[in-house]
């Protein structure tokens, strides 16, 4: 969770998906496993058992796709910004960004405890619209963020 808090009237919070491996680490691991699989398949193809190669290629394609999907999600983030009289909730998912803008005077922060396993849910609500956020935060962080946002919205 990164927080940029420049002025009393502005606030910016970014929460990123937990990603325990660096892109470089992922690439090294993927290349090593692809290298071993390919070496095995080529070795047996040279020996005459060439049917192994297409199976290895299919498997490597699936593995590559899996790592690619993980890579796409590795950049996922959510941000909440308060700037002047606007509150912006932004969600970046698989390279696509969706933005929800709320009027700061009317925006409400809703905390409920109906999430899976009793965890708390965090939503921004205004004019019948509701957006859930805080997916990448712990319960404790969600409650902290809710308090912080409420304070800033109230004091405006």
């Amino acid at each position: 969770m990164e927080r940029v808090d420049e002025f009393a009237t502005s606030y910016h919070l970014v929460a990123r998906r937990n990603d325990s491996m660096s892109p470089r680490g992922r690439r090294v691991f993927l290349l090593s496993i692809l290298g071993v699989s390919l070496a095995v398949a080529v070795f047996w193809s040279v020996q005459g058992a060439w049917y192994i190669l297409p199976f290895a290629l299919i498997e490597m394609a699936v593995l590559f796709a899996a790592f690619k999907i993980v890579e796409w999600h590795a950049g996922d983030y959510e941000s909440v910004s308060i700037d002047g009289d606007r509150v912006l909730v932004e969600r970046h998912d698989r390279g696509r960004t969706t933005r929800h803008s709320f009027d700061r005077h009317w925006a409400q922060v809703i905390v409920s405890h109906e999430g899976p396993g009793g965890r708390c849910d965090l939503r921004m609500r205004s004019h019948g619209r509701e957006v859930r956020f805080g997916e990448f935060l712990t319960d404790q962080q969600r409650l902290q963020v809710a308090d912080e946002l409420r304070r800033r919205l109230k004091n405006y």
Binding site: S20, V40, F67, S112, E114, G117
Partner: protein, 528 residues
């Protein structure tokens, strides 16, 4: 602004989950899928076990009592295929599904829908295998290794087995990809690779092995298929093919497969022994490196299964020494487990009993493996009951005992109830005693020259065979105690605390209640 107990229908899928059959068909929850893997593997274990009892019933006395020789061969083949691909491998995947997310602080597996698909491929494959008994000519009787040219000549049951292996292989590959991506990318903040529990490490290496060798198996059985039906001659000597090539290809898959079935067992035991010795695992780093070394060496030892096919002396020496080399990292592991127990404050609840039992009996299987690695000895003992004894010491006393240990260890976390220690201990002692009655005498049968995969034998082998058969039925019945212990634990019993084991310190024990909630670690914990 006040906290409101709001309700949002858009997120209902997070709050509730389907019940009944739909839950199990559509679930993407790692715990549900893990449970299904475990029950599936137990069903296959019982089915494969019944086939084994069919084998031992026939071998109770010399002469042909119950089965035609062709059917006897079908029993041995299907017993091997069911146990390897249906029981042991899926059981470890079940453990991986349940435990890996809990142990690394992840909410689920990386690809939850693929996880569901991986599991649901297995029941059709199992049905194909079992249905092959009913087709004209019956199931394949070529042995679980499906050696050509016998497998090229057999009936339709062979085609069903090939198809089943393809499906199970696809399931394994998807499972492995899921496990690798989960472990690499979804570890809780602070959990570096060298802080991962050893069970997670062993599975990471196992999944790597699976990905490397599964295409080899798929290629081998597809070549069999096209030799049988599409006029190719990969393994048909009459058409210029080479049956020995099949053995090379098969064992290039088959030997790493042996480690695929034992490395996760090492991981389970490495979690249990420190917990019940109340000491940290001795030599954590060396355990990781030893596991990786075993995996690497497994690629260069395959031809020790083929010393009698004829190979140059240099080849024999290479494969003999390479095989012996595996004893070094394995010895490191055994030493570390013993050193972990040394001066520990040990107690012997059922998981620890099975782990210590594993240590004793698996090590014996390891030693007989070392004996079989010696080329001139192997040439004498090839295809005898000594080999049968060896790999059952490794796979039953090794893999299976570790699976039992792991089940008892994590049952409180899975069910929220403590298992019956009385039933657990009874299960252990019965299993241990009957296992040795069954398989120890097979060493003598093999040394005396009794070949494997025969329904009849000379009078000289009668006594030991009778003992082995009695042991086998005892061992089979002992597994009903296991079923009773598990069912009793699921249905109720003393409530388990979050951590019923004093020395267990992985995340599932320290951060989650028992039973682990349906959704756990929605946001990852921080590991110090």
């Amino acid at each position: 602004m006040e906290a409101v107990h709001g309700h949002d229908h858009a997120h209902d899928h997070d709050h509730h989950h389907p019940t009944g059959v739909t839950r199990w068909l559509t679930t993407t929850n790692h715990k549900d899928i893990g449970t299904m893997y475990l029950w599936f593997s137990f069903a296959m274990f019982i089915s494969g076990g019944l086939l084994a009892l069919g084998i031992r019933a026939e071998l109770f006395q010399p002469g042909l009592q119950l089965w035609r020789p062709e059917f006897f061969n079908q029993l041995t083949t299907m017993h091997g295929l069911m146990m390897v691909f249906g029981a042991i491998m899926p059981a470890f995947v079940g453990f991986a599904n349940w435990q890996i997310p809990l142990m690394i602080g992840a909410s689920d597996m990386a690809f939850a829908r693929m996880n569901n698909f991986s599991f649901w491929l297995l029941p059709p494959a199992a049905l194909l295998l079992m249905a092959s008994f009913l087709v004209p000519g019956g199931a394949t009787g070529a042995g679980w290794t499906l050696y050509a040219p016998l497998s090229v000549q057999q009936g339709m049951g062979m085609d069903l087995a090939i198809f089943a292996i393809h499906i199970m292989g696809a399931s394994s590959i998807m499972g492995s990809i899921n496990i690798i991506t989960t472990i690499l990318n979804m570890r809780a903040p602070g959990m570096t690779l060298m802080k991962m529990p050893l069970f997670v490490w062993t599975w990471l290496i196992t999944a790597y092995l699976l990905i490397a060798v599964m295409p080899v198996l798929a290629g081998a059985v597809t070549m069999l298929l096209t030799d049988r039906h599409f006029g190719t001659n990969f393994f048909n000597a009459a058409g210029g093919g080479d049956p020995v090539l099949y053995q090379h290809v098969f064992w290039f898959f088959g030997h790493p497969e042996v480690y695929i079935m034992i490395l996760p067992a090492f991981g389970i035991v490495s979690q249990i022994i420190p917990a019940f010795a109340r000491k940290p695992l001795f030599g954590y780093s060396s355990m990781v490196y030893a596991t990786a070394s075993i995996a690497i060496l497994s690629f260069i030892v395959w031809a020790h299964h083929m010393f009698v096919t004829g190979m140059p002396a240099a080849g024999q020496l290479f494969f003999m020494y390479a095989t012996m080399l595996i004893a070094v990292p394995t010895g490191v592991k055994v030493f570390n487990w013993v050193a972990t127990m040394w001066k520990g404050s040990m107690t012997f609840e059922t998981p620890m009993l099975f782990s210590v039992g594993f240590l004793f009996v698996f090590t014996m299987g390891g030693f007989t493996g070392l004996i079989l690695a010696v080329t001139p000895v192997d040439i004498q003992l090839q295809d005898t009951y000594y080999v049968v004894a060896h790999f059952h010491y490794v796979l039953v006393a090794g893999s299976l005992f570790a699976l039992f240990a792991g089940t008892y260890f994590w049952l409180p976390k899975w069910t929220g109830n403590m298992y019956s220690e009385t039933l657990g201990k009874l299960h252990f002692w019965c299993s241990m005693i009957f296992f040795n009655i069954t398989f120890f005498v097979m060493h003598f049968l093999g040394l005396a020259g009794m070949p494997r995969r025969i329904p009849d034998y000379s009078q000289q082998f009668a006594d030991f065979n009778m003992i082995a058969s009695i042991g086998a039925f005892g061992f089979g019945l002992s597994q009903l105690i296991f079923l009773a212990a598990v069912v009793k634990c699921i249905r109720g019993g003393e409530k388990a605390p979050a951590n019923p084991w004093e020395g267990a310190d992985t995340l599932e024990w320290t951060h989650l209640p028992s039973p682990a909630p349906y959704h756990s670690f929605e946001t990852p914990p921080v590991v110090k």
